[in-house]
């Protein structure tokens, strides 16, 4: 095929990029080579628009074994144990085919984790849909949820936490982010860097089919009216084969056969082989006729660009081939030596002994374009919302409306579709502020949560970025864990749009400040640009996935009230910040003003002090205050238990709604037994923590004195009915 302008354009490369390719090659590429450049140089693989900004993120710390740049991040949790984790987006495929898109998203992120020698121990997800009224939402929601469950349940890894949000900004572009966590021995982590010459390059796993060709390029292009044409690139996941692949890889990893291992993710065989060679500063030569194929007459182009799932590339130590093959035979998986490492620093592709492609590795990796895209600072909203100008509403109506809303209703109809208990180490599952997963056979555990707040980030990307990190930190603290590191998935619109690029740059700046201040480094992550349609970009939606450590798991804590007549303590100052709150959004559809600002010093002090209280067994239950403010947080602590609260209205109350629905940051609600109050107050005072004693628990009723009283069973019912009303009968 002649490489015309159209062919180049179809590969998502612009004319300048194409001329750079010609310069690097010192000739015209053929179609195979063009395809390979297109895969490696697209946003998804090259991070060409984001790299400059990502460099700002803090990635180091005593606890960090491996930061960004490998398949997943690795942190040290002591005793030769390491936690391997990462989050990744699968937004575009999930919009096109929700079940398979979401399922293969889970499959992909799991491979990233077990590639590094870790046995996956937990899955999380962050899913964002359009407004519930949008005609596509129901189908997408049901498809995505069953796809996530379908894959995770089948492979037998518990899905333990996540977040589900609805906002019209995602009407035409949903977000599906999946996170996986694995456990490895610190001295047995595997990396993708190739080493040594003439080593066997081995293909293992499923056969290669024609699926997902151009998938990686698709992930980096906006949707338009012609999205339909891109449809056949969706892949079907095969969790059963992935389970076999996982067990086989983990079995092979027990001895010292592997030099380097890399999953075939986006851009399949191309990116995996280039990555291994590039990191090892070597060349790789592949004999493509050896590649196990699912269909007849597959071409080298198709083999190199296929995104068939459930495949891996391994570089083996000499003489280990036979033993390795035995393991893969046992698991009924393909195992084929398809090439070798070379000293040419080139990717050489042969098909039946004819050289079909020959590209310097550096041209594909280190010399891939990097852009300093134009970006503009967000213009900040000046206006404060004047409550007096809004229609009056009763406290009761406001609270019930929020509790019954799509975003704040109970999500157990989702989480019950996930096996949360398999592996028998799930100490706290979905519903808690963070999940707790015990390290198998030990008495320590990790905590984990994913968080985002697109409304905050839209209004002021910088404080939004700061806030999500803090919210995540708070969720980990709230189950008694010491936060240690995060992964992040940055879902944004079109980076060629300077406003979007500005949102990106500023969110990262915010994330950086919080992570730095809290010693909460970023060890892995993923960027998803081009979320939007026809020039309408989604609200900036960075998602943070955090890990915390519980050194001694004695009495795990959660947010549910435990006793009658306990004292309720509110930690942190309440100013009554309502702009960008759920209250204004749900009740008045008002999205004006700035989001609440985080004071990092208070955040850190409050969190560390709360942790001290928990570690001294002084706290019965605890919940951080996030979207919905104090009232919603209190309701969440009560619903599903036998205990409600009796809250006194504060004396210096300026406005009831500001106090109860304001979203000021760095706050926690603690349930303290009366006889421990003195001790608790002593510690709080010693640490200079601002706190208020706001009421007590009581049986059966949720009560704000003089304002509102309801049976908690009633609240629970209201909180649980959204999905049934929404869904009716589904397929």
């Amino acid at each position: 095929m002649k490489i015309t302008k159209q062919v180049v354009e179809k590969h998502g490369l612009n004319p300048e990029e194409f001329s750079t390719i010609k310069k690097l090659l010192k000739r015209e590429p053929n179609l195979l080579e063009l395809g390979i450049f297109s895969a490696m140089w697209n946003e998804h693989c090259s991070y060409k628009s984001s790299r400059k900004h990502l460099k700002n993120l803090p990635t180091r710390g005593k606890q960090v074994i491996q930061g960004p740049g490998e398949n997943a991040g690795v942190v040290d949790i002591g005793d030769n144990d390491a936690i391997v984790f990462k989050i990744e987006s699968h937004n575009h495929p999930s919009y096109i085919e929700p079940y398979q898109g979401a399922a293969t998203g889970v499959g992909g992120i799991l491979r990233d984790v077990f590639t590094m020698g870790a046995r996956p121990i937990a899955l999380l997800n962050s899913i964002h849909f359009g407004s519930p009224e949008h005609f596509k939402t129901k189908n997408l929601l049901n498809g995505v949820v069953s796809g996530i469950g379908g894959y995770g349940n089948c492979i037998g890894i518990p899905t333990v936490a996540g977040e589900t949000k609805f906002n019209s900004t995602y009407n035409e572009n949903i977000l599906v982010n999946a996170m996986a966590i694995g456990h490895a021995k610190k001295d047995k982590i595997f990396y993708s860097k190739a080493k040594g010459l003439n080593k066997s390059v081995v293909y293992v796993g499923s056969k290669t089919g024609r699926d997902g060709i151009h998938g990686a390029s698709m992930a980096s292009a906006e949707f338009d009216e012609n999205t339909d044409e891109k449809k056949p690139t969706v892949q079907v996941g095969d969790p059963f084969t992935e389970k076999l692949l996982m067990e086989a890889c983990l079995e092979l990893m027990k001895d010292n056969s592997i030099i380097s291992i890399q999953d075939m993710g986006a851009a399949g065989l191309t990116s995996s082989s280039v990555e291994m060679a590039s990191k090892g500063e070597l060349g790789i030569e592949l004999n493509l006729e050896m590649v196990p194929c699912r269909e007849d007459k597959m071409t080298p182009y198709e083999m190199m660009l296929s995104e068939s799932q459930e495949r891996m590339l391994i570089i083996l130590e000499e003489g280990k081939e036979k033993n390795a093959k035995k393991i893969f035979d046992k698991w009924d998986l393909d195992f084929v030596i398809i090439g070798k490492t070379t000293d040419t620093n080139k990717l050489v592709l042969k098909f039946n002994n004819i050289i079909e492609g020959d590209i310097p590795i550096s041209a594909l990796a280190s010399k891939a374009p990097i852009y300093d895209r134009k970006w503009i600072k967000k213009k900040l909203p000046k206006k404060k919302v004047d409550l007096k100008k809004l229609k009056k509403i009763k406290f009761e109506d406001a609270l019930l409306k929020i509790l019954s809303s799509a975003n704040h209703s109970n999500k157990s109809w989702i989480t019950e579709q996930y096996d949360q208990m398999v592996m028998c180490d799930t100490v706290k599952k979905s519903g808690a502020d963070a999940a707790i997963i015990r390290i198998h056979n030990k008495d320590k555990a990790i905590a984990t949560s994913v968080d985002s707040s697109a409304n905050y980030c839209k209004a002021y990307p910088f404080s939004g970025g700061k806030q999500i990190v803090c919210e995540n930190w708070r969720n980990l603290i709230s189950v008694g864990a010491k936060p240690i590191a995060v992964t992040n998935c940055l879902n944004f619109g079109n980076p060629e749009n300077p406003e979007v690029m500005g949102e990106f740059a500023e969110c990262i700046q915010g994330i950086k400040e919080s992570c730095e201040f809290l010693n909460f480094p970023v060890v892995s992550g993923n960027v998803s640009f081009y979320n939007g349609t026809n020039k309408k970009n989604i609200n900036p939606t960075p998602v943070i996935g955090g890990i915390g450590l519980i050194n001694k798991l004695i009495e795990p804590i959660d947010h549910q009230f435990k006793n009658d007549k306990s004292v309720i303590i509110l930690i942190g100052k309440t100013f009554g910040h309502l702009e960008q709150s759920v209250f204004l959004e749900e009740i008045y559809d008002n999205k004006e003003g700035l989001p609440p600002e985080v004071n990092l010093t208070n955040e850190k002090n409050n969190g560390e002090c709360v942790l001290e209280l928990i570690n001294n067994s002084l706290v019965k239950s605890i919940h951080d205050i996030s979207s919905g403010g104090l009232a919603v947080a209190l309701a969440e602590m009560a619903m599903g238990t036998d205990y409600g609260v009796k809250i006194n209205k504060p004396k210096n109350l300026t406005n009831l709604f500001k106090y109860f629905f304001g979203e000021d940051q760095s706050r926690y609600i603690l349930e303290i037994e009366k006889n421990k109050l003195e001790k608790v107050e002593k510690i709080l005072k010693k640490n200079n923590i601002f706190y208020e004693n706001i009421g007590t628990t009581q049986k059966k009723y949720f009560e704000i004195q003089g304002e509102f009283k309801s049976d908690i069973k009633e609240l629970y019912k209201i909180n649980n009915q959204w999905y049934n009303n929404f869904n009716g009968f589904t397929y």
Binding site: N153, I155, G156, F240, W331, D332, E416, V422, L553
Partner: protein
């Protein structure tokens, strides 16, 4: 007591049940499905999971594997066989237990704590429970909707072969306490000789208060008597 846990490709509760067995003093061995001989064991467990991905029908393909013909022989000779979740599905597919497990009636995977009632405690598997005792267990399945023909149902009832039924917290057996549409709320059954038990709930998940509760322990300890 010696036990064996059969491992199929796609089994994923094999480790969980092995942990439970060992914790409760069984001498356990894992048996890979390609093996043609069973080790000497008093109890054979077919664990939960998604053998062969649950492709075709859950349990169908595992039901055709080599090792299963050995399990059938062992069962016929009176050895104890326990099928949990996918294991129950495998047992019905092999015919060791009658009936079939259909899709849950809401067509969704269900993972939830539920209650079951011990209907028959006069068996090797349930001797340590009290009759009509209410247990809290965890279910996690797509196909737990037990179905059988009228004739067999009558046999199950007449011969007291229903081991467990789904019930409410207070022991009510009714539609509201039926999570998956199972016939008569059936959660587990015996074969006529009561040496085989198939059940959808996961007793191995209920042996540790830190994770859940300890309602599953008596099932394993009953066997030790």
């Amino acid at each position: 007591m010696n036990s064996s846990v059969i491992v199929f490709p796609g089994s994923n509760c094999d480790r969980d049940v092995a942990v439970a067995l060992e914790k409760l003093q069984f001498k356990n061995q894992m048996v890979w499905h390609k093996e043609t001989k069973l080790p000497k064991s008093d109890l054979i467990v077919i664990p939960g999971g998604f053998s062969y991905g649950d492709y075709l029908r859950s349990g169908a393909i595992a039901g055709k594997s080599l090792i299963v013909s050995e399990v059938i022989k062992a069962a016929d000779s009176g050895r104890l066989v326990l099928g949990i979740c996918n294991g129950f599905q495998v047992l019905t597919e092999t015919g060791l237990l009658k009936g079939a497990l259909l899709r849950n009636n809401n067509l969704k995977f269900i993972n939830r704590d539920i209650n079951i009632k011990v209907l028959n405690n006069n068996s090797k598997f349930s001797g340590n429970y009290k009759k009509n005792q209410i247990l809290k267990m965890n279910i996690a399945h797509n196909e737990g909707n037990y179905f059988t023909n009228q004739e067999h149902l009558k046999e199950l009832i007449d011969e007291n072969l229903i081991a467990f039924k789904y019930c409410s917290k207070d022991g009510d057996v009714n539609e509201d306490s039926n999570p998956n549409g199972s016939l008569q709320n059936i959660a587990g059954i015996f074969n006529s000789k009561k040496n085989i038990l198939g059940m959808m709930p996961h007793p191995e998940r209920m042996i540790d208060n830190l994770i859940s509760n300890t309602d599953g322990i008596n099932l394993f300890t009953s066997l030790l008597k």
